[in-house]
Symmetry: C2
């Protein structure tokens, strides 16, 4: 406790992800050289954000109110929920600008080892939201659309997109969620697997290549 | 100004050295997930260090008082000053534990482009300190030791070690300082150049290899 505040700062910085002791020292020096412009504002900002930023009660997104901007936005398609592992995945999808529905943030994957079960991932809440949008949909349009079909996506139907990572844990979690949603009249979909745009075939792993070949489409 | 504090935090973090936008986002998420244990303490620590840490008036080191621990330590050899570019260089030498003298921190190299002249590097102060230790030495021991010799280091004589980087800027700065100290009865030395310990010859640049060959010593 009688330790130098400089050493303490370096120690704290070195525990951040991606910063080792060496870059922590560099960062500490940089900060001390720019106290007024960088260091004190950063301290303020950290304190401010830690106190202000909240977790959306509906989807788990980080925002300033109990309901996040996305959940509050009436222009977004409330019949679609995209299930992602982490807030950073939501940010990535939002940056791509190709999705206008809502989200559900799991906060990780199912993991007995790390003590994350369905409760920790808020899967009950997701099922609840899914049954809610399924009800709304049946009120509105159930007579006008064709019966549930897995092969063909219906633009009119409610949809849960499972956008977990293409890792074993991510896919296990997705399968578990799909099972839990089985009884509901919603489409459950997953992201396509394939060659990344700009990716070279000879650097691609066999699994991806196999998936890309299987799911090939007509030009 | 009406920007989200989360975005502001990410922006601030991404300006730190070594953190791009992607790692800034990752860090922000990590911090927000560990508010009580990591984020608020870090904010506090930053604020605390920014207000407490000072620059030593004698050597330029960062510490808690106007005279740093090293300058205050009476067990250190006050007849030796090691000139380094930055506080991180001082830390590196202290970690190696092979030097017990004092320091002078330049805070960079001479650079007309970046507006760093002798004044910014505190070279007048260094010359003053050097002449001070030269005086003390002449009082104490000038009669007992042999005349100034460049080839042979005298353990009894005052010494200024120029430990600037082995870059063009670092060496230019070292030469400038050596000239400014010429008139004083102190030994001016520089670090040895050579093969780094653990370094492989075939990965070494020609300059280093040439220096190492020239300065070879008897086994």
């Amino acid at each position: 406790m009688a330790q130098n505040p400089l050493d303490q700062l370096i120690q704290r910085l070195s525990r951040l992800p991606g910063l080792g002791p060496r870059s922590a020292r560099r960062t500490a020096l940089y900060l001390l050289k720019n106290r007024e412009q960088v260091m004190l504002p950063l301290a303020n900002q950290l304190d401010h954000a830690a106190r202000k930023v909240r977790t959306c009660l509906d989807c788990g997104n980080l925002d300033l109110s109990d309901l996040c901007t996305i959940c509050q936005d009436s222009r977004r398609d409330s019949q679609r929920i995209c299930v992602v592992e982490d807030v950073s995945d939501l940010w990535a999808i939002e940056r791509a600008g190709i999705y206008s529905g809502l989200y559900h943030i799991l906060g990780g994957t199912l993991s007995a080892l790390e003590g994350r079960g369905p409760r920790e991932l808020g899967i009950d809440r997701l099922v609840q939201r899914a049954s809610h949008i399924a009800e709304n949909q049946s009120d509105r349009q159930f007579e006008t659309i064709e019966p549930l079909s897995i092969d063909r996506l219906s633009e009119q139907m409610s949809e849960i997109i499972l956008a977990t990572s293409a890792t074993v844990d991510g896919q296990t979690t997705a399968h578990y969620i799909a099972e839990r949603l089985e009884h509901l009249p919603v489409q459950v979909t997953r992201l396509a697997h394939g060659v990344p745009v700009g990716g070279e075939l000879n650097y691609l792993d066999d699994g991806t290549l196999a998936q890309a070949m299987k799911a090939r489409s007509r030009l």
